[in-house]
């Protein structure tokens, strides 16, 4: 069967045979192009507008700028300069980094140790504890907000970076433990036996064997968590509060929407600034991300 498929399709690709009749169809190609175009159009409008002369933005549509692209006075970088200096976007950018990097590294570390123990070290209560982790996978964050906020105001953790790290860490843990457990439990048993024979401690086995071998899964979750924390508004609003000195980029952008819905030159530049880092991470590490999505949902 497999041989005949190859012979008919005349290609090594597995599913070419049934795809073949559609491959060159013009309507299909056009509809794919149209879908991609429509999907990109809103973002393109934002990007073009952020570089336009503020006076022109509300006088003509952004698409006219593309037609008159070479007229003098069309383009400017001032929107970015203004939004970085005037709207605390530079501080917000730093704050976002301060919040996001530890909020990514801490949960991965804690989850990796826990997943390793769950997968390879027998101990009493292992089964029931892991079932609790699985149960926590879908608990809405909203269930945690009120009691945690109460604890935080008592422990003066409200509005601090340490406070939001711990919150993001805990909220990311169930998925992280679950994903890493699925990956680590597939590692070959011989590996751990020979490490034990060599006299390696559990900690050494983890650092020298498990961590390097789990890099694909760690990378996938890292991108997940990075994007989630960087783009988060709710947790930041609740636990960091509206203070200008600690606000992260989504909060800063939200605050710009409120008072000046009309200042599109600043709003578009600000929005694009918040998008640069996640877009860069995302496009550079797409493959990891896709693998993570598939591991997380096709189970």
């Amino acid at each position: 069967m497999a041989v005949s498929t190859k012979a008919v399709a005349g290609s090594s690709s597995k599913s070419r045979f049934w795809r073949a009749p559609m491959l060159e169809s013009l309507p299909l190609r056009i509809s794919v192009l149209v879908i991609c175009f429509l999907w990109t159009l809103p973002t393109a409008g934002l990007l073009v507008t952020s570089f336009r002369n503020p006076e022109l933005i509300t006088k003509t549509g952004w698409w006219t700028a593309l037609v008159n692209a070479f007229q003098p006075g069309q383009w400017t970088l001032n929107n970015y300069i203004n939004v970085l200096s005037g709207d605390n976007m530079a501080t917000a950018f730093l704050n976002s980094l301060i919040v996001t990097i530890p909020s990514t590294v801490i949960p991965i570390t804690i989850a990796a140790f826990a997943a390793y123990a769950f997968a390879w070290i027998p101990f009493r209560g292992r089964g029931i504890l892991f079932i609790i982790v699985v149960a926590l996978l879908v608990v809405p964050i909203q269930m945690a907000l009120i009691p945690i906020l109460k604890i935080y105001s008592g422990a003066s953790l409200y509005g601090t970076f340490v406070g939001i790290w711990l919150a993001h860490t805990a909220f990311g843990l169930p998925l992280a433990i679950f994903l890493l457990y699925n990956f680590m439990s597939q590692l070959p048993r011989d590996l751990f036996e020979s490490a034990a024979i060599d006299g390696a401690s559990a900690f050494q086995t983890f650092v020298r064997l498990v961590l390097p071998l789990s890099l694909p899964a760690l990378g996938a979750f890292a991108i997940f968590q990075f994007l989630w924390v960087w783009n988060d508004l709710l947790v930041a609003l609740v636990f960091l509060g509206p203070g200008k000195d600690v606000q992260v980029m989504p909060t800063a952008l939200y605050n710009m929407i409120g008072p000046r819905g009309g200042a599109w030159h600043l709003l578009t530049a600000g929005a694009f600034l918040t998008m640069i880092v996640p877009l860069g991470v995302f496009l550079a590490l797409q493959r990891f991300f896709v693998r993570g999505i598939l591991a997380g949902s096709v189970k």
Partner: protein, 390 residues
């Protein structure tokens, strides 16, 4: 064997070397100092001011303490400390705890070490998820003064709350079906072209954008100007070109509901596409070939064979998107704050907490979301049990 290891551990050569223990303990003390700087609201400024004083720059130090001067450098200093403490601290914690336990007698050590590895996770999960979930359910039955009441729950059945619940259900059905349906369509279409992975990037990329950012993008598409002025919002420009009157898409009920849901669909379609596309590629070629030989049309193959075969993936994608949609907050919150009959549970909960200071009702709203995901939780547990049994 066991004897050998016991001897090794007695002589200290088993496990991690001693200097690692010493170094990590010293590191932990430094990290603890860093945490005190981070928790202090003016930690960065004060630390930089102290450094300036040491360097003999008293004026710079005073300026910093008064909230002026080199605030940005103070922030950079704080960022450096935050990254060192946040990233390094957790590793130091695990390293020192493990190396200490490794020096225990073998039996005790083997019993304690797994708990060292899972303790941080267990503590955080208990404090941040298990305890709050229980506390929130209980809180929903008490009023501001701590007296038992059903009023929080009763109020959810009235007036604007009915509208909020209705909106959440509309979101749940329309936004979820829209994302999954479009994702499946796109996955099926793109499966048949040559530059598939390139085309996918266009649909997929919005996933990296924050919901607030996406809201700004679409608010610009929906922007409206008075009739006398040119419409610079894309949608109204097209709409008025056909002779219609401009519409305030994002603030007029009921058109604002689909306008807001479209933002979510735009983001989530990429996710559905990726998972479903992988599932479609997993369908065996033999089955498809057999269907073709029997003379099935492409349409029949898609709906009669592919869709049933990837049903499992469709269900998982649908539940994932549905859970995200259920908790929708950012979009409604940043479009208008739910002022135009478009409010949803998560936004109202936030408003109950921070505007109306009614924690009891906020807790009841959160509990509604929790009840809504309970079936998924039970399903997850059942699936996991079955897998573990095999």
């Amino acid at each position: 064997m066991a004897l050998d290891r016991a001897k090794d551990s007695a002589s200290g050569s088993y496990g991690t070397p001693r200097w690692v223990l010493v170094a990590s303990l010293i590191g932990l003390v430094i990290a603890a100092l860093g945490v005190t700087v981070l928790i202090d609201p003016h930690g960065g400024e004060n630390l930089l001011a102290a450094i300036y004083e040491r360097l003999g720059n008293a004026a710079g130090a005073d300026a910093l303490r008064n909230g002026q001067g080199d605030q940005f450098y103070a922030k950079l200093l704080l960022a450096a400390i935050a990254l060192l403490v946040g990233v390094g601290g957790i590793w130091l914690l695990f390293t020192s705890a493990s190396t200490i336990v490794e020096r225990f007698p073998p039996k005790l050590r083997d019993r304690i070490i797994p708990w060292v590895f899972i303790a941080p996770a267990l503590v955080l999960l208990s404090v941040y998820l298990v305890y709050p979930a229980v506390a929130t359910v209980i809180r929903s039955f008490f009023d501001q003064k701590g007296v038992f009441t059903l009023a929080n729950w009763e109020s959810l059945g009235k007036g604007e709350f009915l509208e909020i619940l209705r909106n959440n259900i509309i979101w749940l059905v329309v936004a979820t079906a829209g994302s999954v349906g479009l994702g499946l369509t796109v996955a099926a279409l793109f499966d048949r072209i040559r530059r598939e992975s390139l085309a996918k990037v266009f649909i997929f990329t919005p996933l990296a954008i924050s919901l607030v950012g996406a809201t700004v993008i679409w608010k610009f598409v929906y922007a409206i100007q008075p009739p006398s002025e040119p419409q610079f919002g894309l949608l109204n420009a097209i709409w008025t070109a056909f002779g219609n009157k401009a519409v305030a898409w994002s603030t007029t009920f009921p058109i604002n509901l689909p306008a807001e849901m479209l933002i979510m669909i735009w983001l989530q379609t990429g996710f559905a596409m990726v998972v479903l596309s992988a599932a479609i590629k997993g369908v065996s070629v033999e089955v498809l070939e057999a269907a073709r030989l029997d003379g099935a049309s492409e349409r029949q193959i898609f709906f009669g064979i592919i869709v049933p075969l990837i049903r499992g993936s469709i269900v998982t994608v649908t539940t994932t998107v549905a859970i995200a949609t259920l908790k929708i907050f950012d979009i409604v919150f940043s479009v208008s704050g739910g002022l135009n009959h478009d409010n949803v549970v998560a936004v109202r909960m936030f408003q109950e907490m921070f505007q109306f200071f009614n924690d009891g009702r906020a807790a009841a709203l959160a509990t509604i979301l929790f009840i809504a995901v309970l079936p998924v939780m039970i399903l997850n547990l059942r699936n996991f049990r079955r897998q573990a049994a095999m």
